[in-house]
Symmetry: D2
Subunit: 147 residues, 4 copies
């Protein structure tokens, strides 16, 4: 029995997360996933603070980028980022619990566009991220063996 | 005797780096700094790899973002990022030695624009980054006590 | 009697539009405005086509940029763009009737972030635009004389 | 006798310019072209001014976008923009004579990255632009008939 779109999205995201040492090392958790969308959580640790005492932009970016990567890889076609931008709205502080929600805005041909919002535990907007994806060759899952 | 522009840039970058737990935890090294510019090195470790086995975009971004932060803070005025973008040109691999070079493109009023190039140990272009800075209140150094 | 937020938004947008020779020359029409949002229409004319026969990116950008400008100036504080990006999703053709809808994503201190979607007459997504605003000195309206 | 790289770049740009009603309608002039680069001039006319009396961002963007389009189409492979960003540094005024210089930063596979600087007649930086290109099918020139 073939996987439906939701099952496929979940299987892709789990597989990608298991292989993703970087997201794991940053303590990211995959909270929710569906076709073209993903939510990822991260706790701001002391080793993520930069020179002015707030979360390094690289870690905010990494969180959004992981959510984007999980979201654009929910169709079992290997898809990479070709360009991203981030706008910082408010600083994230030590011990903040951040959630990044990625939502597909467009997908056609080999490219797609995804928006990601990062919020803290009080629902305050921390950053806005936009990612452009590009489908390369290959699949994430070995579907023959899965079923 | 007051610091000249080069000395001021170096003092600002050293101070910022010492306080920057995130850049240190990622193993970044401050290679060179001057007014409006900075070069930062980073070694791609196993805990920086994402699901397809190359360096996570968040770590590439973090490297460029740190170079940008050091470059825009070389005038002893606390300056933060308000928005950044990155374009990925080629993947970075495990054990690559990356260098990010940030160069000021404009600075007027409270905002500035900086370009950063990330290259690997063979001089191959890995990513292009653009950062927009915003000068907030305060200084990085206690100049009275420095001299 | 002071203007309410909706009336203020409409008065700001009308004033800005009247002074905006560029938007008028491109045949843009202000369709709807409210606090932090604006919709602008434009008809793709023959003099807007570029070398491959579709609407020039500059005109798509201009349409989104005008919607963004009207949206971020709805509070009677003169606000300018400091940086924008556009992602092209599908080409716009001769005689297409485009609508750009700008919606505020954040506004704090002197800066704000706005998302704009451009769609054609069939509701197809043509482009995604993101604008960063910066509040300068001054007001758009002479409120004393308006009331 | 085949065209060399410089001749091919010039032939591509001329062909593209001739078909580009939009760039012509904005009074743009192709000043210089070579493999991966192009310079385009534009005079700021009264119909290019927006509500605060300076050149509309859409026209600045269009100028940079045209320079980018000419630059990325110098290899006789039809190449389109998939995303662009612009950072405004200083306003352009009525009657300013602007020049946009596009320079290739990377090109590999089907995508490329180009930087564009817009300066006025005094050499002052007006805006920074970054464009991402994507090679589609087809050629610009009918090389059989050219030679």
């Amino acid at each position: 029995m073939p996987l439906d779109a939701q099952q496929l999205a979940e299987a892709c995201a789990s597989t990608l997360y298991e292989r993703d040492a970087a997201s794991q090392a940053m303590g990211m958790q995959l909270l929710e996933v569906g076709p073209g969308r993903a939510s990822v959580g991260m706790h701001v640790r002391a080793d993520m603070l930069q020179g002015v005492g707030t979360c390094h932009g690289g870690h905010l970016f990494a969180l959004a980028d992981s959510a984007f990567a999980f979201a654009c890889n929910t169709y079992n076609a290997v898809t990479v980022a070709i360009g991203c931008s981030i706008d910082y709205v408010a600083p994230a502080q030590l011990d903040d619990r951040l959630v990044a929600r990625a939502v597909e805005q467009s997908r056609s041909g080999r490219t797609g566009n995804y928006d990601v919002r990062i919020e803290n535990q009080r629902g305050e907007l921390i950053a806005l991220f936009h990612g452009k994806s590009y489908k390369v060759r290959g699949t994430l899952l070995d579907l023959e063996n899965l079923q």
